[in-house]
């Protein structure tokens, strides 16, 4: 941790000078001193830096967004459905350029950016070179602008982290803070790209940092909010989608939303399995093929795009259209299938770009298709009922299904369940939708977990030979607690009022060398057999045990506390008393270092037994 300087220079001078001289400091000098004091406090610096990072990330994303649009208009034309020749040629040629840039200049920009940010945090002490930011900006703008089926969110996340890392290094932050500053930038980048600060904060906490702590949360929130403010300042307040209003009219609808969860879960499985299957095989091909893989992906995408131009690019307009009933279920289903294929192809080819937008695109199509089918064939009465109840016309429920589908697919692919729920709430601004979202997201998440135990980000990092911490595994891992390791205290407890001679008699037959002594209400001490023998040999056999204890008390632990807590408290003590939380005098058991090690060993064996294969 960076220690603040012992005294700022002027304060040191002031300290050397007599008191009246200090009072004579000019207002400018006083202000300077205050500013320095502010700028040299580690926590203050970190929070201030979070805001600066947020502002930089916001600006960077605005430029990134403009660049993507500029490239799209100039390469593919301003039409929503460009000419077939362009659709076939542009992604392929852009793919060649991207591959060259990645292979020759920016090898670190491959992939979505989430794992790369995690690598920076967990492996490289928060180090992300600024060249990665530049490379990510150029290659992703070119890829998304030329129609590759990828999104701008994950690259924005990595660029934000890169900016934060650069600033952190320039400010010579400590290693610990450097590790923390990258997620702050990542949250800022994601918040700007998605225009949803809460979702960004949650995603970073849930998927990158993996734990909540007040210090980090404050910085992450500040960064995310600053970047969103900048993004809205330049790109406008309009949300990504115009979300139709939603009202749950009939409980039967929830069954329909459960079906969205099932279909969303299966569709997410299809996508993850496609990536899991194809990516390592493509990576295993000779190195020269990596120069043509993005171009080949572009060509495949172009062929699909001639027929279904909606699958090109991030596809926010198409999601908006799907939410407003502009496609029938057949078209929605086709778009879902081909978006899975197109995104899979784009992603496994090594083209840099994100998975957020394609994921929610697929979800919107899947949800919309299910919603349209259910509306047409099962719940034809619903819109009429809504109109009757509200006395006003309502849109069809397809929009709500599309929205719920986004969450389901996000939960299934990204495996960030909390983020997936809050994302939909934040996008829709409607808390009535929480029940359908929770139902479908949970189902999709469980299906995905059941049939694809390794989440996609962990899968990608393992394919890349990295062992990044899996946030899901950490969340799911059963914690080892004191109650799992403690053993019965037996006769190892002595009474502090016993004499040394009596105490020695009590422990004569026992194998233990150290005994607990309850000295006062809830206060435990310990004494060794050697100490008792020594006292007896010094003719202090008639003395009370209490007299030998001194002031030292034993640390205590409770049964529900983790073994990590017990380990920390153990220190050099041979055992610790495990006491009841409501009555510290009530001994539940004792725990030794050996107990702890045995329990960890058993847990490891259990984990090994549970490993697939």
């Amino acid at each position: 941790v960076i220690e603040p300087p012992e005294k700022p220079p002027d304060m040191a001078a002031a300290g050397a000078a007599p008191a009246p001289a200090a009072a004579a400091v000019s207002p400018a000098g006083w202000l300077g001193a205050k500013t320095r004091a502010l700028l040299t406090g580690e926590e203050q610096i970190f929070l201030l830096l979070s805001v600066i990072i947020g502002l930089f990330s916001g600006l960077l994303f605005v430029c990134f967004h403009i660049s993507i649009e500029w490239i799209r208009i100039n390469l593919l034309s301003s039409a929503l459905a460009p000419s077939p020749l362009r659709v076939i040629l542009v992604p392929a040629i852009a793919g060649l350029v991207i591959a060259y840039l990645v292979m020759r200049f920016f090898p670190r920009v491959r992939g979505s950016g989430v794992n790369q940010t995690k690598s920076a945090v967990y492996i490289y002490d928060g180090y992300i070179p600024f060249s990665t930011v530049i490379g990510k900006f150029i290659t992703c703008a070119l890829a998304i602008g030329s129609g590759q089926s990828l999104g701008p969110e994950d690259p924005a996340l990595q660029m934000g982290a890169g900016v934060a890392s650069t600033l952190g290094r320039r400010l010579r932050l400590s290693r610990e803070k450097l590790r923390l500053v990258a997620p702050v930038g990542a949250a800022a980048g994601l918040a700007a790209a998605f225009n949803t600060p809460i979702t960004a904060v949650l995603f970073i906490i849930e998927e990158v940092i993996g734990k909540w702590s007040a210090g980090v949360l404050g910085a992450v929130v500040l960064g995310a909010v600053s970047s969103v403010v900048v993004e809205r300042l330049f790109l406008g307040e309009a949300p990504l989608f115009r979300v139709p209003p939603y009202h749950l009219v009939h409980p039967g609808e929830l069954v329909a939303y459960a079906v969205v969860g099932i279909v969303g879960g299966l569709a997410s499985l299809l996508f993850v399995k496609l990536v899991a299957f194809a990516r390592p095989r493509l990576k295993a091909l000779p190195r020269w093929t990596q120069y043509v893989q993005p171009a080949a992906a572009g060509l495949i995408l172009g062929v699909i795009g001639v027929w279904l131009p909606q699958v090109l690019g991030a596809g926010y307009e198409v999601m908006d259209q799907a939410m407003h009933d502009q496609y029938a279920w057949r078209m929605l289903a086709l778009l879902a299938i081909f978006k899975i294929l197109a995104t899979g192809v784009s992603f496994v080819s090594g083209t840099p770009g994100g998975m957020f937008a394609p994921t929610i695109f697929m979800g919107a199509m899947v949800g919309g298709a299910v919603g349209d089918i259910e509306r047409r064939f099962f719940f034809t009465h619903i819109p009429g009922v809504v109109e009757h109840l509200l006395g006003a016309p309502t849109p069809s429920t397809v929009g709500a299904f599309a929205l719920v589908g986004m969450g389901a697919m996000f939960a299934g692919i990204m495996r960030a369940p909390m983020t997936s729920v809050f994302m939909i709430l934040e996008l829709s601004g409607n808390y009535s939708i929480i029940i359908p979202v929770m139902i479908s997201n949970t189902i999709a998440y469980l299906i995905s977990r059941k049939y694809q135990p390794t989440p996609i980000f962990d899968l990608l990092s393992r394919q890349d030979g990295l062992d990044l911490p899996s946030m899901e595994e950490e969340r799911e891992q059963a914690e080892q607690r004191v109650e799992d390791a403690l053993h019965s205290p037996g006769k190892t407890v002595l009474d502090s009022e016993d004499t040394v001679t009596d105490a020695l008699k009590q422990v004569e037959e026992l194998p233990d060398q150290f005994y607990l002594v309850l000295r006062d209400e809830g206060e435990w001490s310990g004494i060794s057999r050697d100490a008792l023998k020594r006292a007896a040999s010094e003719e202090k056999g008639a003395q009370r045990v209490r007299a030998l204890l001194g002031d030292t008390t034993l640390p205590i632990v409770h049964p529900d506390q983790t073994l990590e807590v017990a380990l920390r408290r153990m220190g050099d003590w041979p055992l610790l008393p495990v006491v009841h939380r409501a009555n510290f005098s009530q001994l539940v058991g004792v725990i030794t270092l050996n107990d702890i090690l045995k329990t960890y060993h058993k847990a490891r064996q259990r984990d090994n037994d549970n490993l697939p294969g």
């Binding site: 700028l39 610096i45 400010l171």
Partner: protein, 409 residues
């Protein structure tokens, strides 16, 4: 790290023995604080510059988006004017992608979708607009038209009324009148004539003094089954423009239909004088003139003239009855032991009255007029049913009979 060694909290390196602080970091310590302040200030300066650059870029970007939106909108308008609804809606959709918040573009897209018969999509866009501006007249009108297309009477009525009482940016009074006019036409098509009449009464109360509009509303009153108000509106139209051919014709026809043959003759003669009229109207004028010339019930007639007209009517009806009997191959006298047909009964009555068909008989016995006219009425009604539509004098007599309550008079 072995016991006793301490790691530098800043760089993480082990602090060598004999050093109280990290020698690597201590070197930079004196300038480090200054450096940090400078860097933070420099960051702020860079931010200011970047804000300015991004601001310029964002302005250029928004201007480009706006220009593209406008360009595609113009293309859409051209395509729509050329009846290429499919192309137009793609163009409008593109323009909307560049200006998602533009309600005019969205409305035109919805209209293009309606023109392309893609009602579900059109409704979705219109509902989006409706949610943003529930009182917008144009949006409500388009939603009403959608409901009309789908024969959804309650929705159509609701949206039409929303449109009538809604907000219109340009010429609101005229727009509201046009909407009510459209609603009236819809109600008449739906045969909801009572509702149509009430809407038309409201519309008539709002009309400006423009003959064509009064004439139009009068025509709708006629269609809604309210000829009296129709005639009233035609008259108001004629007060504004005495030579309005349409109003004259309409007034003449309504007067003819309501049995005001004197007015009908007046209006139709004026209509003929101001331009060409359809043959049907000429026939109506002719018939109306005959009605006026044959009608014995006219209170202004002298008694002798009235008697003369009664006898004339009797002779015309007798001739019609003879002709009808012949055309159906019937003998005026039914065979013995056989019930006479309706025509034969009338012929028997006619034979009974024939000897009394003299002016002096009628002048002595005025009650006979009713007997004669009852027979005339019965003959014309029965022959119309059995021998087809009458024409000329017979038609005039039939109309006179109906005007005065037939044989019950």
């Amino acid at each position: 790290m072995s016991e006793g060694e301490q790691a530098c909290p800043r760089c993480g390196r082990v602090i060598p023995e004999g050093h109280s602080e990290c020698p690597y970091c201590a070197k930079a310590h004196s300038w480090w604080t200054v450096q940090r302040e400078t860097l933070l200030l420099a960051s702020v300066a860079v931010l200011v510059v970047l804000f300015a650059i991004t601001g310029v870029a964002a302005n250029l970007y928004h201007a480009k988006q706006k220009a593209l939106a406008q360009e595609w909108f113009v293309r859409g308008e051209q395509a729509l004017n050329a009846d290429q609804a499919e192309k137009a809606l793609e163009d409008f959709r593109t323009s909307l992608a560049y200006a998602p918040g533009n309600d005019v573009y969205r409305l035109r897209l919805a209209q293009a979708l309606m023109a392309a018969h893609r009602t579900d999509e059109a409704r979705s866009h219109l509902l989006t607009l409706w949610r943003e501006e529930p009182g917008d007249g144009t949006v409500n009108l388009e939603l009403a038209r959608l409901a009309v297309d789908e024969n959804d009477m309650p929705d159509a009525l609701s949206y039409f009324h929303n449109a009538i009482y809604g907000v219109w940016s340009r010429n609101p009074e005229e727009q509201r009148r046009q909407v009510r006019l459209e609603l009236c036409k819809f109600l008449i098509r739906q045969n909801a004539k009572t509702q149509a009449q009430s809407e038309l009464i409201a519309l008539a109360g709002e009309l400006p003094d423009i003959a064509s509009q009064r004439t139009l509303v009068a025509g709708l009153f006629r269609e809604a089954g309210d000829p009296a108000r129709a005639l009233d509106e035609y008259r108001k139209a004629l007060k504004i423009d005495r030579r309005s051919e349409e109003a004259l014709l309409g007034a003449g026809e309504v007067a003819y239909q309501t049995g005001d043959y004197a007015a009908a003759v007046t209006y139709l003669e004026r209509a003929m004088g101001s331009g060409s009229v359809p043959p049907r109207v000429r026939e109506e004028l002719k018939t109306a003139r005959l009605v006026l010339s044959l009608d014995p019930y006219n209170p202004r007639l002298l008694r002798a003239e009235a008697d003369r007209r009664v006898l004339s009517a009797f002779q015309i009806a007798s001739a019609r009855l003879d002709g009808c009997l012949k055309s159906r191959g019937l003998n005026p006298q039914p065979p013995p032991n056989q019930q006479p047909s309706a025509l034969q009964s009338l012929a028997q009555q006619e034979r009974k009255l024939q000897p009394r068909a003299h002016l002096y008989v009628l002048s002595r016995n005025p009650d006979l007029r009713l007997n004669f006219m009852d027979l005339v009425s019965n003959v014309e009604e029965t022959t119309e049913k059995q021998c087809g539509e009458p024409s000329g004098d017979d038609l005039a007599l039939l109309l006179i009979s109906r005007l005065h309550g037939g044989s019950k008079q």
